[in-house]
């Protein structure tokens, strides 16, 4: 990762709301925005508040890396070229934001997943793009 940067290559997030700092000591996090009028919180940015229509610029918030498993599905057939099976889950974060993610660290079987179980976010390089940049994804796993 540090190497890639020295060579002018970058670590890029798989989705725009995964925030990767220039400072390698800072852990990547999910970036949210919070409406100053009504407090509604969003994953990523919004031009205006979807709930109260306020156009006042929102407050950037750093979302928690701990949450709980809301629901999931075990996907056995996906688009061509996507490896299966995987756990496709919805995780609720304490800020009132939900996030779509994979749950790793468990066999993809319903019996290994409990509604409301605590999960934690981690990141991983999942791909190197054509220009040699590393693509970083976020995933969740059962919290230790």
């Amino acid at each position: 990762m540090a190497e890639a940067e020295t060579q002018g290559k970058q670590v890029k997030p798989i989705l725009p709301f995964l925030h990767i700092s220039d400072n390698p000591d800072e852990k990547p996090y999910l970036a949210g925005s919070k409406c100053k009028s009504c407090g509604a919180t969003y994953l990523g940015a919004r031009m205006a508040c979807s709930k109260c229509f306020s156009t006042e610029p929102m407050e950037d918030v750093k979302l928690s890396d701990k949450g709980e498993l809301h629901v999931f599905s075990i996907v056995h057939q996906s688009a061509p070229g996507i490896p299966t099976p995987y756990v496709a889950a919805i995780v609720d974060l304490p800020e009132g934001v939900s996030v779509r993610c994979n749950i790793e660290g468990v066999e993809p079987d319903p019996k290994n997943l409990k509604f409301g179980m605590p999960v934690e976010m981690y990141t991983e390089i999942v791909h190197t793009d054509r220009d040699g940049n590393d693509i970083m994804a976020f995933k969740f796993r059962p919290a230790k």
């Binding site: 969003y42 688009a79 793009d129």
Partner: protein, 380 residues
Amino acid sequence: MREVAMVGAGMIKFGRYPEKGVHELAAQAALLALQDADMTMKDVELLASGNLYQSSAMIGQRIMKEIGQTGIPVINVANACATGSTAYREAYMAVASGAYDTALAVGSEQMGKMGLLGGGGGGGGGGISPEGIVGSGLMPAVFGQAGVEHMRNYGTTEEQFAKIAVKNHKHSMHNPYSQYQVEMSLEDVMNARTIAWPNTLYMCCPTGDGAAAAVLTTMEKAKQLTTEPIKVATSTLTSDPYTERDLTMPDVNTLTKNASKLAYEDAGVGAEDLDLVELHDCFATAEMLHYENLGLCGEGEAGKLIDDKETYVGGRIPVNASGGLLSKGHPLGATGVANICEVYWHLKGQAGGRQVEGAKVGLAHVIGLGSACTIHILQK
């Protein structure tokens, strides 16, 4: 707003038509609907066409080149799985507004090999799709999760979801327009390979091509054409309201609940007045949720509703007498018009072996993610 009546329905058997252009399928359905209404394009004052994958290909105008060009306004619409029913609503609004007396709605789609795995996904950074790496935006996962939420809330079982598929495949045996007409046991359904848990292969709608069309006119004109006019009691369309989790997990429930509330109000009809329902069973899990969303039973009672076979033809409130999308297939742009045609045929007593006897009020429901929900209530 004037009273609107439906006076013609047309549909081709859903299936594979790789050798045909989609505008030809659409034109065929349009001709059937016009024939049913004893009309030609000369009588039509506005055409609304619904097609999703080829929404920019001027399908509406190409239909007219095939069957009659009169210079009338043509509108091509797209609204995910609610594309066809949005076209129907255009025709409804055209007549209800007083601007046009007779309008034609045509829904069509050629799915190729895309199916419901197409679309979704969305662009990620660095030219790699996030699909399967940060969860899933694809329909099977979304409707798997929606079913699992019902399990979480009410203890619904895999078996109960599977029973819905058993019912719909059984219904399909009497529907010649259905792409598949294969009866299946509960074991057949449950033992099939899982697509996205808890839905197995036979709990997911198959891919296919199709087209359906409807002719709408003023109630006044309809009464001149027939002694038993079918009234379009409501044409309701909603989109997602703000809900906390919807921004990540498409909220198929709130959308449909809002639509059904508005629709019942607008039609002056309650769920208890319905004789049949065609609802959007893109997956077996979806049908379960919509039992409650449409008020066919109370919250948390959907599992019992299918356990008690109340939604079979012959039960208290038959759902998807056509076999539903699970058997008929789901050519996206065609679906919304096709399920209104099905309700229409029941009210006209023309539904053959699957006829719901004495049907007087029927509801057709479609939901497209992203999101759009339509509800149409027809009344004899």
